[in-house]
Amino acid sequence: MINNLHSLLNTTGFAHLTPGMIIMWCIGLILIYLAIKKQYEPLLLLPIGFGILLVNLPLSGLMEPDVGLLWKFYHYGIHWEIIPPLIFLGIGAFTDFGPMLANPRLIFLGAGAQAGVYLTFFASHAMGYNIMEAATIGMIGGADGPTTIFIASKLAPQLLGACAVAAYSYMAMVPIIQPPIMRLMTTKAERKIKMAKPRPVSKREKLLFPIVSTFLIILLIPASAPLISMLMLGNLFRESGVVERLKGAAQNELMNIVTIFLGLPIGATMHADIFLQPKVLFIFVLGLIAFVLSTMTGLLLAKIMNVFSKEKINPLLGAAGVSAVPMAARVVHKVGIEADKRNYLIMYAMGPNVAGVIGTVIAAGIFITLLAP
């Protein structure tokens, strides 16, 4: 009788709970709380938080290879590299590259802010992470969720959950993390610099941009093809003006559907046994460093460009080179207005901001080319 009761108890999850799982429930619930109460990236943190709860319920089998529901989402969506490129299709349909084309030298700022990615890559590797893990961790500095997930699934799937959550959390915290660094690294006089009126960008230029960049970037860095091709196709939908339905689908329906299938399995990669290790948790520290360094190198590059250029640029724009679109550009605008209430930087900041998206994808492509097994 006692034996029967015992075996009955063993069929329930209760008998298999571990303290680590309960800690993970707390982490999942905190993410859900932040999503609902603080509205920190709710579209992602809410499903990620729920995914964490699910995978830490023993015997659920949701992440069991070949059988589990969330495993299938993960395997066919992320491991097969379908979802991150589809997110990029939507981003392309949303993004107006006009501000970048109007002021092409601001592209450099989008590239400059990638230095944090590489600096953190070397630092992480020096600290004992293997070279593929280090590349994935560095990528957090680009502040681009889908790209971080893309590279993690290729190079270091065991770190995917932590890197994705770190990337999305820091993107949500852009308005908290960046302003102090921006004020520290620029003088008030620099923050007051007004930008020259941008040149008008013709419709033809905007139309040619996605086509020309597809050729150029994929020929240069073939490994960036999955993300760049979808980004530029989405942008071509937008700029062509003849496929409003496809543009709308990429921006809304498809984007919303894939977001559901992205968040849940990311959360589900965070099982207590994998996640609660010092090596994984330290990623949050390194990710923050990557992000801070990217902001700093962007600002620094803008200041260096001012030394050599007659027409000064507001160095705050350098901080918008991280690809958290459009949060980083909004922060630049707000810090600019603090210094001078008539200094409206938003449209200028969108230039390096959208260039940063391309910059991060290129950085990822370079890592994959050099490191992928």
Binding site: K197, P326, A329, R330, H333, K334, I337, K341, R342, Y344, I346, M347, M350
Partner: protein, 71 residues
């Protein structure tokens, strides 16, 4: 002399504190433009009285579009 009030950034006018006949002082708030889901306050460029309104609340404006004239 007529001074023009133009949009300093592209976006949608979500608040207008002026109408023909309103007297304004330089650097006081006259409207709010929403761009990138962010509201930006626009200030009066000079002292004067609003002569004519070209745009209204809800209008989308481009950078440099004429919004009102000040006499």
């Amino acid at each position: 002399m007529t001074t023009e009030i133009t949009a300093p950034l592209p976006g949608k006018i979500v608040r207008l504190d002026i109408e023909p006949g309103t007297s304004i002082e330089q650097d006081t708030e006259i409207m709010v433009i929403e761009a990138m889901k962010m509201e930006t306050i626009v200030y009066a460029p000079c002292d004067g009285v609003i002569e004519k309104m070209i745009k209204k609340v809800g209008d989308e404006v481009e950078d440099g579009d004429l919004i009102a004239t000040v006499a």
